[in-house]
């Protein structure tokens, strides 16, 4: 199998997480419906769910009562954006987001535009960073929501969410939603302290299972001066999760997410330092090839993501050449036989060609120095070969 360097897409389930989930699935006492209050089976399952809720909350500086389980970050983003838009539609119909958000934010915003809302798309600088002042300048009296990601999934840059939170707090009636699907275990998250009203989380980016995530909904008191965000539910049918997300909870899934987040919080500092060393090793190796451009701010990124563009190499050929050896993401979305260049890299000002010839390396817990060295060796060989084929020779 190729070396797996795509942890920003998804991570393998931690064996301890898998064991905890399997235990729930195999148990003769833990299969109850967590919402069944009439018997002990429901009590046992409910206790497991609440324990996982506390684990998730603790990992991100939130209160357990602020955790709403969802099927993943995409659903959480949809619930936050449509939920706020619907609830506050009489107050205003303007949303602020950025051009480099995940599709799970951009597509709901596009849909709201089709329904009559207005959306301002902030443009980051060439390193992918937003100036919080851009948010302040974009706010209008009818702005009900600012939706920005914490850690960018393609380039790894970390936005200054606390500064944006302070701006939103001063602008009455504007709620802040943060997509933090990539953040947990990679950089500190302080949900309560950052002035964030809504935060989307995903389990499978953090060595948990696919199919489960959460939306944090701040329970800020009115006395805190900001009030408490309200949402209109998007699905109905049982009143679970404070009426915001109906449906029977998958106990084993949330148990897995709870443990995955607890492990991430425990391992974060040591693991981040180790991954940072690996990322430096990878970048040094790639930079030595010449004609390799780093995408995103090196100083303001998590070390788990390294995105680079290769000059003089055609994107599809680059991916085809390394695919047997390396599992990485390309800077283009292959929605058809013809790839489309990454809109994130295009927003940073990268040309179409360089966007297409970019690769995202996602480093993770299982990544070793040998993996990095293999990646550098493969890329050195294939980039040189493709440059020769292209007549680009050495780009140094």
């Amino acid at each position: 199998m190729p070396v797996y360097l795509d942890h920003a897409a998804t991570t393998p389930v931690d064996v301890r997480v898998a064991a905890s989930m399997a235990e729930v699935l195999r148990s003769e006492t833990e299969y109850g419906n967590p919402a069944s209050a009439s018997h002990v089976y429901g009590d046992i399952a409910g206790a497991l769910v609440e324990s996982a809720r506390r684990q998730v909350a603790a990992a991100v500086g939130a209160d357990a009562a602020e955790v709403i389980w969802t099927s993943g970050a995409t659903e959480a983003n949809n619930l936050a954006i449509f939920g706020v838009a619907q609830y506050y539609r009489e107050r205003g119909r303007h949303i602020v987001t950025s051009r480099t958000e995940h599709k799970a934010v951009l597509d709901p915003c596009r849909e709201l535009e089709r329904r009559g809302w207005q959306v301002s798309y902030l443009v980051p600088d060439k390193e992918g960073m937003l100036d919080p002042a851009q948010v302040g300048a974009a706010l209008r009296p009818d702005t009900v929501l600012v939706s920005l990601m914490h850690v960018n999934n393609e380039i790894g840059v970390v936005q200054n969410i606390a500064a944006v939170g302070a701006i939103c707090a001063r602008h009455g009636g504007t709620w802040l939603h943060v997509d933090a699907a990539q953040s947990v275990g990679k950089c500190p998250i302080d949900f309560a302290g950052a002035g964030v009203d809504l935060m989307s989380l995903s389990a499978h980016k953090t060595y948990g299972p696919k199919g489960v995530g959460a939306l944090l909904v701040a329970k800020r008191s009115e006395s805190a001066g900001r009030g408490r965000v309200q949402l209109t539910a998007l699905q109905f049918g049982g009143g679970q999760e404070r009426g915001l997300r109906a449906g029977t909870l998958a106990t084993h899934q949330v148990v897995g997410m709870g443990l995955a987040f607890e492990l991430a919080a425990t391992l974060s500092s040591v693991e981040t330092a180790r991954v940072a060393r690996l990322q430096q090793r990878l970048w040094r190796g790639l930079a030595a090839l010449g004609g390799v451009l780093r995408n995103g701010s090196a100083a303001r990124s998590v070390p788990h993501v390294l995105n680079v563009s290769f000059e003089g190499v055609e994107g599809e050929s680059l991916l085809a050449a390394i695919r047997p050896h390396l599992a990485v993401s390309t800077g283009s979305a292959c929605t058809s036989a013809l790839a489309e260049p990454s809109y994130v890299l295009r927003a940073l000002g990268r040309s179409e060609r360089l966007s297409e010839s970019s690769l995202r390396f996602g480093l993770g817990r299982a990544t070793t120095e040998d993996d990095i060295d293999t990646a550098v060796t493969i890329l050195a060989r294939e980039v040189e070969r493709l440059r020769q084929v292209a007549g680009a020779a050495t780009v140094k």
Binding site: G312, E314, E316, S317, L319, A320, A321, C334, S336, A337, L338, S351, E352, R353, E356, R385, Q388, V389, A390, G391, A392
Partner: protein, 132 residues
Amino acid sequence: MNYNDLTRRYFESTANVGELKGPDVFRGAAGNRDQGTWVQFDLRIKAGAVSAASFLAFACPHTIAASAWLAERAVGRPVNSLLPVGVPELRDRFAVPIEKMGRLLIIEDAWLAATVAALDYRESAHISDRGE
């Protein structure tokens, strides 16, 4: 993107890459790197036939493989203004998706530019020999 065996073989073990030099070498290129596809053929012509061929391509695997295959097949063939095989046959041999047909036309344009250069040279040389 999936590639058939022929495409993968000629893409991964690309031969005849580079440029030829000499007065008997004729070059043709088409496409544009900025547009994503550029192909160049060099043909060495001796006694009206291709004695050597090479190519360069900033292009996708299908285009690189088809160009490499054409350069290999060209040797020994009489120079004329046709591809050794037509675009439809190239498409079928390399299982090129319909969305990429334009890239095969770029290959054809590059090839024709090289062969036309050779034929023009031969024609002008012939005219010169006759003192016209």
